[in-house]
């Protein structure tokens, strides 16, 4: 597989997913880029915008095995990772894998579970393995977590730990659709579309795990020049020194920017990363990694504002301006 083939395959993913998820092309692309870059995605949006539908559709389009965990306050870590259960017949403990053992894990409303349970995902997300009772088990490849959370509802929710936030490659906002898209949506439902039945939207499988693994290997051939690396490090460094930021992006954030940049370049049929890739991805890759000072939060400054200001101040490599 080469970059051009990857690009055409990527386009087919977007087209196919857009059959069920209307008017969210940018979100779909952002999520797919994160998936291609072997990263996890946190989708944030108010209820009813199709976050879960997006995750389910992606699993169908990508042809991956998927499982869903509905996070609740009483969810236990073993409910996520699995655990050893005594097998009376065999007189020994047998490991029962949790839902985390899958290709695509949909962690729905992840902030409804306490930090203890959320932390059960840390090792799975970072090392793609689960350790229980001294034994480490590898997760299947590819392994992707798509988590959703609702930013408005705060009662009975637990903010995600910084360590876990940092493990998400991208945080994507899902916004309200436009009026035209909403009309199209209603027409689809009027003509028989059922969100629980993706066949009704004609969503078909476009790939499989082997193909995705091959595509990931292609990413390693995408070139990243020194100027681009300098550009990325400048952006990340400024996120640490910005006056409104209490805690800036980690080196993992910089690495995420690099890998996501490669994925975006390949998705557009390029064998090299350009500044536009970095600039376009910086908000989704960095926004959840920044912790703002309380006074900045009170003044209404958001992480997106900070990133936008940083991008405006940072000189693009080889600019003619």
């Amino acid at each position: 597989m080469d970059v051009q083939e990857l690009s055409s395959r990527f386009e087919s993913w977007v087209t196919e997913t857009s059959k069920a998820v209307l008017g969210q092309e940018e979100t779909i692309e952002a999520v797919l880029i994160a998936l291609l870059a072997n990263g996890h995605v946190l989708i944030e949006g108010v209820p009813g915008l199709g976050k879960t539908l997006l995750a389910r559709t992606l699993s169908r389009v990508l042809g991956l095995e998927h499982k869903r965990i509905q996070f609740t306050p009483d969810l236990m870590p073993s409910d996520v990772s699995g655990g050893n259960v005594y097998h009376q017949k065999e007189d020994r403990f047998v490991f029962i894998p949790g839902p985390v053992f899958t290709n695509l894990l949909l962690a729905d409303e992840i902030n409804r579970a306490p930090a203890k349970t959320q932390s059960a995902l840390l090792e799975a997300m970072q090392d793609r393995s689960v350790s229980t009772d001294g034994e480490t088990r590898q997760l299947p490849d590819p392994y992707v977590v798509i988590a959703t959370q609702n930013p408005v509802e705060s009662q009975g929710t637990y903010p995600l730990p910084e360590a876990q936030l940092d493990r998400f490659l991208a945080k994507v906002h899902v916004g309200h659709p436009t009026s035209a898209v909403e009309q199209q949506l209603l027409r689809g439902y009027a003509s028989g579309f059922d969100a629980s039945d993706l066949d009704s939207a004609g969503v078909s499988v476009q790939s499989d795990a082997d193909e995705i693994r091959a595509m990931k290997r292609v990413l390693s051939t995408v070139q990243v020049g020194d100027e681009l690396i300098h550009y990325m490090t400048q952006i990340v460094a400024q996120s640490r020194t910005h006056r409104a930021v209490y805690l800036g992006a980690s080196p993992r954030g910089a690495i995420s920017l690099l890998t996501a940049g490669r994925a975006r370049a390949a998705s557009q049929g390029r064998t090299f990363v350009v500044p536009d890739d970095v600039k376009a991805l910086a908000p989704s890759v960095l926004r959840h990694r920044l912790i703002l000072h309380p006074d900045a939060e009170i003044e209404g400054v958001t992480a997106d504002d900070v990133i936008s200001e940083i991008l405006t101040q940072t000189q693009v490599p080889r600019t003619a301006a």
Binding site: G156, P159, E162, D276, I298, L311, T312, T319, A320, A321
Partner: protein, 686 residues
């Protein structure tokens, strides 16, 4: 169309048409005030006067001008609308303003006199000295900077050995050159680099030229933080075709810049071709835009010229104005206008020139005009008295009491036989222009016996080459009020008319005030020395700064608010959010840091030891100190990132602890004040 034909018919019969417009207020307002000079026409129009119906009443109405020679108060028809020019701005001073008065309203508003600022005589030398001193100081300052700049620049030091630039220096030079903003120079640089085999630099220059062109045309705005994708997306919103072309160029350029693709001649040619398309398209769009702007300006000429007469632009509607003259001429010669251009070059399409007093060439250079006459032009001197030997007019001192004009046989006047033409009495001219014997084209008799020898010539004409020169005794005939009399308007139209449809131009004192080029305008306005000085200054500044001039591209730095504003805004936000607890958390963390600074190392020994030290230092009760420290420590621990707090805890905490937090905050501030300043940073005394 029909109105114009009607006016033409009326003009043909009585001349009523041109004065039917309400703008000629002296014809339509019975109480219109007239100067004595204008009253000379009262008897000539007759009573009733169908061409100017209310002029007879205005003539009966003796409104006296004020002591300053101006009319004051309302003199209209009682609705207060007619006082416009009567109050305080008349052509006053007891005599009529010259014809040079610019048209304004009905023309009776005179130009305000220029107020001269008179400085005491003693100040004049001081002012001169100050001015000279300032200029010298400025020149010295600039010269000093230039010398300093050159002295500081090692490249200009002749003693410095010339060495080849290092690769890094060459790269810096390339970056500097990349900031070149002129599109043509960038393209030239690109071609030069390409011819030298440096295709990567050539591609960058070519691409920079495209961006600069798009920036200059206003399609994009260059900024150091914008990517090529940003520019393409910006173009896609308004110029999708251009966006597509730029995208093609960008793909090639980025392949070289970031993709390690080889910069070859073929790739450069491809980029340059795309860039030239963009650059050319931008210019085309600009031309198209200019053409569109130009269309409305041409629409008067391009309109239905046959269906309506060309409107006469401007003109003074007062009794001594000339708008009615122009309108009368326009009834037979549609191409009639004021002449703005100077008289040194007269176009071939000009058929008749009417020169009012003071409108002749200022330098008495009448040769171009005479040459034009010889080629078939008709020159009418309406009271203008040239000093040129071929145009000198000889006055006849004999006055005549009569107003009736008789027409002689001359081109343009042959058709007027039997018409009734009248002007107020005045001396006459000898039938001679220069040394040439002329024809008496308009004349009056000096006595009742109508003897041919006893005539006073009002206008005389001579043939010169293929053209004619007609000189009038004065400009009385070329006034609005003259058009109200008998067949004067018909005569005016006939006299100026040329059958070859060439234009008629009326020259006033404004003639020649326009300029054919910016350089002429500069010279006419006596601005040449100033502009030259400014240019010299700019050149010196360029030499000094060594940068191109242009619009500042950097974004304006956002002004930092005053600290007190920031604190007040923050405080109001805290108060509005009922976040006293939050404020206490932040303050507690800061206060504990302050305690660390003032009692270095104490907190490591524990809370009890710290409290004891503070109590000893402040003389506060130790129990109160330890309570306060515990509260501060607890608050500081709760003041971390959101994830360190329990679910939705802050709001509840604030509601419960609001009053105690404020109390703690005040007590902590008092305790810090009692502890005194920090000694950190001062040298310990040995």
């Amino acid at each position: 169309m029909s109105a114009w034909l009607l006016s033409l018919y009326l003009l043909g019969t009585s001349g009523q048409g041109v004065l039917a417009d309400e703008d000629y207020r002296f014809c339509h307002e019975p109480r219109y005030p007239l100067y004595e000079d204008e009253r000379r026409w009262c008897e000539l129009g007759g009573d009733p006067n169908p061409r100017c119906p209310d002029l007879p009443k205005a003539c009966e109405n003796h409104v006296e001008p004020g002591p300053d020679g101006r009319f004051s108060g309302a003199w209209g028809d009682g609705d207060g609308s007619g006082d416009g020019s009567g109050d305080g701005s008349d052509a006053g001073d007891g005599e009529q303003e010259s014809r040079a008065t610019p048209p304004d309203g009905d023309g009776r508003k005179a130009r305000p006199k220029r107020k001269e600022i008179e400085l005491p005589a003693v100040l004049s030398p001081i002012a001169k000295l100050l001015l000279i001193g300032l200029v010298l100081a400025g020149i010295a300052l600039i010269a000093r900077h230039i010398l300093k700049n050159r002295h500081d620049d090692p490249e200009d030091d002749p003693d410095e050995p010339v060495r080849a630039p290092s690769p890094e220096e060459a790269q810096v030079a390339a970056i500097r050159a990349a900031k070149e903003t002129d599109v043509t120079r960038l393209l030239n640089l690109a071609r030069a680099e390409a011819s030298a085999g440096r295709f990567e630099a050539a591609i960058e220059y070519a691409y920079a030229a495209a961006l600069r062109r798009l920036d200059g045309d206003g399609f994009i705005e260059l900024h150091h933080s914008r990517t090529n994708g940003d520019y393409v997306r910006r173009l896609r919103r308004g110029q999708p075709q251009l966006a597509s072309e730029l995208r093609g160029v960008v793909r090639e350029v980025e392949g070289v810049q970031f993709g390690a693709r080889a910069a070859t001649r073929e790739r450069f040619d491809a980029v340059l071709s795309g860039v030239m398309n963009i650059v050319g398209r931008g210019a085309t769009a600009l031309l198209l835009l200019l053409s569109l702007f130009g269309l409305p300006g041409c629409s008067d000429d391009a309109g239905d010229a046959e269906s309506k007469p060309k409107p006469v632009i401007g003109g003074d509607t007062s009794p001594i104005g000339e708008r009615a003259v122009l309108e009368a001429i326009a009834t037979k010669s549609p191409k009639v206008s004021y002449r703005i251009e100077p008289l040194n070059i007269i176009a071939e399409d000009v058929g008749t020139l009417i020169i009012l007093p003071g409108a002749g060439p200022k330098d008495d250079n009448w040769d171009p005009i005479l040459a034009w006459v010889e080629e078939g032009g008709r020159l009418i001197l309406a009271g203008e008295r040239p000093t040129h030997k071929d145009l000198e007019l000889f006055e006849d001192p004999r006055p005549t009491p009569y107003t009736q004009l008789f027409t002689g046989y001359f081109v343009g006047f042959n058709d007027m036989q039997g018409w009734t033409l009248k002007v107020p009495p005045s001396p006459g001219l000898l039938p001679q222009i220069g040394l040439t014997e002329g024809e008496s084209v308009l004349y009056r008799y000096l006595s009742d016996d109508y003897s041919d020898e006893e005539v006073s010539v009002y206008a005389v004409g001579v043939y010169r080459g293929e053209g004619e020169i007609i000189a009038f005794e004065n400009d009385d005939f070329f006034t609005n009020i003259a058009m109200s009399v008998e067949d004067n308007a018909r005569a005016m139209a006939t006299m100026a008319h040329r059958y070859d449809e060439r234009s008629v131009q009326l020259c006033t004192a404004w003639t020649g005030s326009g300029s054919s080029s910016p350089l002429d305008a500069m010279r006419n306005a006596d601005l040449t020395p100033l502009i030259v000085q400014l240019l010299v200054f700019v050149v010196l500044l360029v030499l000094y700064r060594g940068i191109a001039f242009g619009r500042l591209r950097d974004t304006e730095a956002r002004g930092r608010r005053a600290s007190v504003d920031h604190v007040q805004a923050l405080g109001s936000h805290y108060a509005r959010a009922q976040a006293t607890g939050h404020a206490w958390q932040a303050y507690a963390a800061w206060a504990l840091d302050q305690i660390d600074l003032r009692l270095p190392g104490q907190r490591r020994r524990g809370l009890q030891a710290t409290a004891s030290a503070i109590a000893a230092r402040t003389q506060w009760p130790e129990t109160e100190v330890i309570t306060l420290l515990l509260a501060a420590s607890d608050a500081a621990n709760r003041g971390g990132p959101a994830s360190m707090r329990g679910p939705a805890s802050a709001a509840h905490a604030d509601a419960d602890e609001g009053s105690s937090s404020l109390h703690n905050l005040q007590r902590m501030a008092a305790m810090l004040a009692a502890m005194g300043p920090s000694h950190q940073g001062t040298k310990p005394k040995k």
